[in-house]
C-alpha cells in the first residue's frame, strides 16, 4: 500500500464523514469555469466584483425557496408541477389585495397562504385518495390555476406598497433580507426533514411506502402534508418575487420556469426522483449552481432565448446524471 493510496482514501473518508453533498464541488467547478469565461469574453465582473456573489445569492432566493418545498415532495416519491402557477397566482392575488396600502399586507399574506394551502391539499388528495399519478395530478391543477388566473387577470394587477418591498430589497446590515429568509427556509426544511417525526415518516413513505405502512405511519397524511408545505413554499417565493415588482403579473411563474428548475436543482443536489433519500442542503447547492449559470449568462450577454434553450438541455442532463445509473427501465 503506497502512501499515496492511503492518503487518498483518508481524504475521501474525511470528506464523506463531513457529509458535504457532492453538488458543492460541482458548484465550485461551475463557478470557476463561469468566472473564466466571464474573464475572457466579458468584463470579468465575477472574479473582480464581490457584489456579484451577493447578486448570485439574491437571484437564487425565489428558486431556492420553491426548491426546498419541491425537495420535500420528491423525497416523498411524489412531484409538484403546479408550483410555477402557484407563484403566479400568489403574485397577482397578493398585489391585488394589497392595492398599494400597507395595512392590507397582512390580509394579503394570509389570503395567499390560504390559497397555497388549498392548492397543496387538492394536489395531495388527488394523489392519495383518487390515486392519480402525481405528474398528471399536479399538471392538471396547474392548468386549472392557469385558467383561473388568465380569466381574471391579464396584466399587471394591483400594486405593492413600498413597505412590503422591504422583503425584496431590504437589508439587515450588509445582508439582504431575502437571503436571510432563504437561509431560514432552508434551515426550516432541514429541521423538518432531519429533526421531526414528520420528516422521518416522509423518508419512510418515499423510500418504501409498504414498510412505512406496516410500521404504522399514516402515509396518506404525510404525503398530503408534504404537498401543502410545498405549495406554501411556492407562495412564499411568489411573495418574494412580487415584493421586487411594483405590481404582480401573471407570467411570473412560468417565465422563471420554476417548476422544472426546482425539480432539476433538487435532483442535482442529490435527491433521488424515486424518493426516500436526499436533503435540502444539496438542493441549495443545485440552486446556487443555477444562480451562477444565470449570472454567467447575463455577463456574457447570452440571448434570453438561447438561455431557454440551454435551460432545457441543462435540466435534462442534470436529471440524466443521476438516472443514468439506475437499472430500471424508464417510461
Amino acid at each position: 500500500m503506497t502512501t499515496a493510496t492511503v492518503s487518498g482514501n483518508d481524504f475521501r473518508k474525511t470528506l464523506r464523514s463531513m457529509q458535504i453533498p457532492p453538488v458543492y464541488f460541482f458548484l465550485i467547478l461551475v463557478f470557476v469555469a463561469g468566472g473564466l469565461l466571464d474573464q475572457f469574453f466579458a468584463d470579468g465582473q465575477i472574479f473582480k466584483n464581490p457584489a456579484i456573489m451577493l447578486n448570485i445569492a439574491v437571484r437564487s432566493v425565489a428558486l431556492g425557496i420553491v426548491a426546498v418545498g419541491q425537495s420535500l415532495v420528491i423525497i416523498g416519491a411524489s412531484i409538484d408541477l403546479s408550483v410555477a402557477y402557484t407563484i403566479s397566482i400568489t403574485a397577482v392575488m397578493s398585489s391585488y389585495i394589497m392595492q398599494g396600502k400597507t395595512e392590507n399586507v397582512p390580509v394579503a399574506i394570509l389570503g395567499v397562504f390560504a390559497i397555497g394551502a388549498l392548492i397543496g391539499l387538492v394536489n395531495g388528495l388527488t394523489i392519495t385518495k383518487l390515486h392519480v399519478n402525481p405528474f398528471i395530478a399536479t399538471l392538471g391543477t396547474s392548468l386549472i390555476i392557469k385558467g383561473i388566473i388568465n380569466a381574471t387577470f391579464s396584466n399587471y394587477t394591483g400594486s405593492v406598497p413600498e413597505s412590503f418591498q422591504y422583503f425584496g430589497y431590504g437589508t439587515i446590515g450588509v445582508l439582504p433580507v431575502s437571503i436571510i429568509i432563504l437561509l431560514l427556509v432552508v434551515l426550516g426544511g432541514w429541521f423538518l426533514l432531519a429533526r421531526t417525526k414528520f420528516g422521518s415518516h416522509l423518508y419512510g413513505v418515499g423510500g418504501n411506502a409498504e414498510v412505512a405502512r406496516l410500521s404504522g405511519v399514516r402515509t396518506d397524511r404525510v404525503l398530503i402534508g408534504a404537498h401543502v408545505i410545498c405549495s406554501m413554499a411556492a407562495v412564499l417565493a411568489g411573495l418574494f418575487l412580487v415584493s421586487q415588482m411594483q405590481s404582480g403579473a401573471p407570467w411570473v411563474g412560468p417565465n422563471g420556469v420554476y417548476d422544472l428548475n426546482s425539480i432539476a436543482t433538487t435532483v442535482i443536489g442529490g435527491t433521488a426522483l424515486s424518493g426516500g433519500k436526499g436533503g435540502v442542503w444539496g438542493t441549495l447547492g443545485g440552486v446556487l449552481i443555477f444562480g451562477v449559470l444565470e449570472t454567467v449568462f447575463n455577463q456574457l450577454g447570452v440571448n434570453p432565448y438561447v438561455k431557454t434553450f440551454l435551460q432545457g438541455a441543462i435540466i435534462v442532463l442534470a436529471v440524466a446524471s443521476y438516472t443514468i445509473r439506475s437499472k430500471k427501465e424508464a417510461a
Partner: protein, 527 residues
Amino acid sequence: MAEAITSFTEEKITQVEPLLEVRNITKRFPGVLALNDVSLKFMPGEVHAIVGENGAGKSTLMKIIAGAYIPDSGTLYLNGEKVSFSHPQEAQLQGISIIYQEFNLLPERTVAHNIFLGREPAKFGALDIWQMNHQAKEVLKEIGVEEMISPTALASSLSVAEQQLVEIAKAISFKAKVLIMDEPTAALTYTEVKLLADLIGKLKNRGMSIIFISHRLVEVFDIAEKITVLKDGQLVNTVNKGDVKPADVVFMMVGRTLDHYFPALGKPEDFGEVVLKIKNASNEIIKGIDFELRKGEILGIAGLQGSGRTELAQALFGVMPFRSGTMELHGKAIAIKNPSKAIKNKMGFVTEDRKSEGITPRQPIRDNMLLTVRAIQSLFGPILNDGIRNSRKLVPMLGKQVDIRTDSFDREAQYLSGGNQQKVVLAKWLASDADVFLFDEPTRGIDVESKASIHDMIRELTKRGVAVLMVSSELPEIIGMSDRILVMADRQLAGELPAKSSEQEIMLMATGHSNTSIKNSTPAGEE
C-alpha cells in the same frame, strides 16, 4: 430464601405453559388449501424449527401468527389468552415479531431510524435524535452487537448479516416474546451463521420463543431444539432434535401419493446429439457450472430455495449472463448476453413468475401468444403476414396444442386462470419455434388438471426433438419428468442423479448431505 426461589423456578420450568399456541388453523387460497387443521405449541425459552417443502404451508402459518394473514378457521393463543390480529402492527405490539427473508429496512436511513420508524422518540413533534440513537444503542447492546453496528450507520452500508441483526434489534425494541424468522441463514456465511446461532441461544435464555423456517437441515439440527415437519399444509409431526436424524426428517418431509401420473420418461434412443454444452461457467451469483443438454431429453434442475436454480436458467437465457466459462449451442461457441440473442438462437424461457415476466396482462390472449413471433420479424411487417388473417388459424391451432380453455382468444390474458396463463406462455414459445426450452417452476400454483396437461405437453416437445431444461422445487415433478437430474446447492452444482432417483437422494444432495456413491453414479443413457 434464595434457594427456595431457585427450586420454585426450576419446578416452574418443567411445567410451563406454551407462550404461543395455534389450534386448528386452516387457510385457503384460490385453488389451494395452504393449511389444513394445524395445531402447534411454542414454548418460552425454546427454539423451534419449521421445515417442509416449498408449498408445505410454513410461510402461511408464520404470516398468520404475525398478523399478516387472517386464518379461515382456528385460533391463536398468546400466554393462554385468545388473540386475533387484523394487522401486523397489532401482533408486533403484543410481542410477536417476524423477520422476513427480504428485510423490511429502508436502505437510505440509519439503523436507529429504521428501528424506530413510526414511533420515533419526540418532544412536540421534534425528534429527539440523541434519545433515539441512545435507545438504539441500548437495544443493540441487548443483543451484544453494539460494537459491530452503530446506530448512525446507514442500513445500506451494512452487510446482510448486520442488516438481519438490525431487524432482530427492532424486534427486541418491541419487547418481542415470540420471534419468527424466515430462512434466517439463507444469505449468511458460515461464521455469520455461528454468530446468529449464539445470538439465538442468548435470546432463548431470556425466555423468548424463537420460531424459524429453514431448508438447511444442518443448521436446523445445530440451532433448534424442536422440529416440526409440515407437508401439503398438514402437520406431519413435531419431534425433539435429539430423537431423530436428518434423514428421518427428510423422510417425513417427502413421500406422498401422486395426485396425477406423469408421462413416460424418455428412453436412451430418444436422446440425440448434445445441443447445449456449458463448461465452468460463472456469473455474479452462480459458479462453476458444467453440464450438457441433449436433444429430446428433459434435464431436471433440483435444489433448495436460494441454491441458484433460477439464476442458472436466467444465465442461460441472457438475463444475467455468464461472465466466464464457455457455452456451446449446437456445437458452436456462443455467448448469450441478452434475451434477444437467446431467442434468435431458438431458445425459449418459461419464467418462474408468469404475471410479472411472462404475460402482458391487459393484452388479448392472441397478442400474448404472438408476441415473440412478431418481435423477431421485421418491425413494420403487416400482421397480414402472420397476423390477423393467418392468426385466425395460427392462434386457434396453438390454443389447441397447449389445450387452453377459453371462450375467446380476444380476452385479456389477466382474466385467465394461472394454468391457462402458463399455457399461453408456452404457446408463445411454440409459435417462435424454439428448440431449447427453459422452464422455471412450470406448474407452480396451477390446478392438478392443467398440471397434467402441461406435463404431457413438455414430453410431447421432446418427442419433436426439443431439448428441455426444467427447474422445479416440486420433487414429484422432478422425479416424474426428468431423464436426468442436476442438483444445485449453495449456488453451485452439487451433483447429478439418474432418472427415477428417490426424493430422499435428491433432498440429501440438496441439503449438503451428498452420498458419494450417489454423486458418482453414471446418468441413465450413458453406457
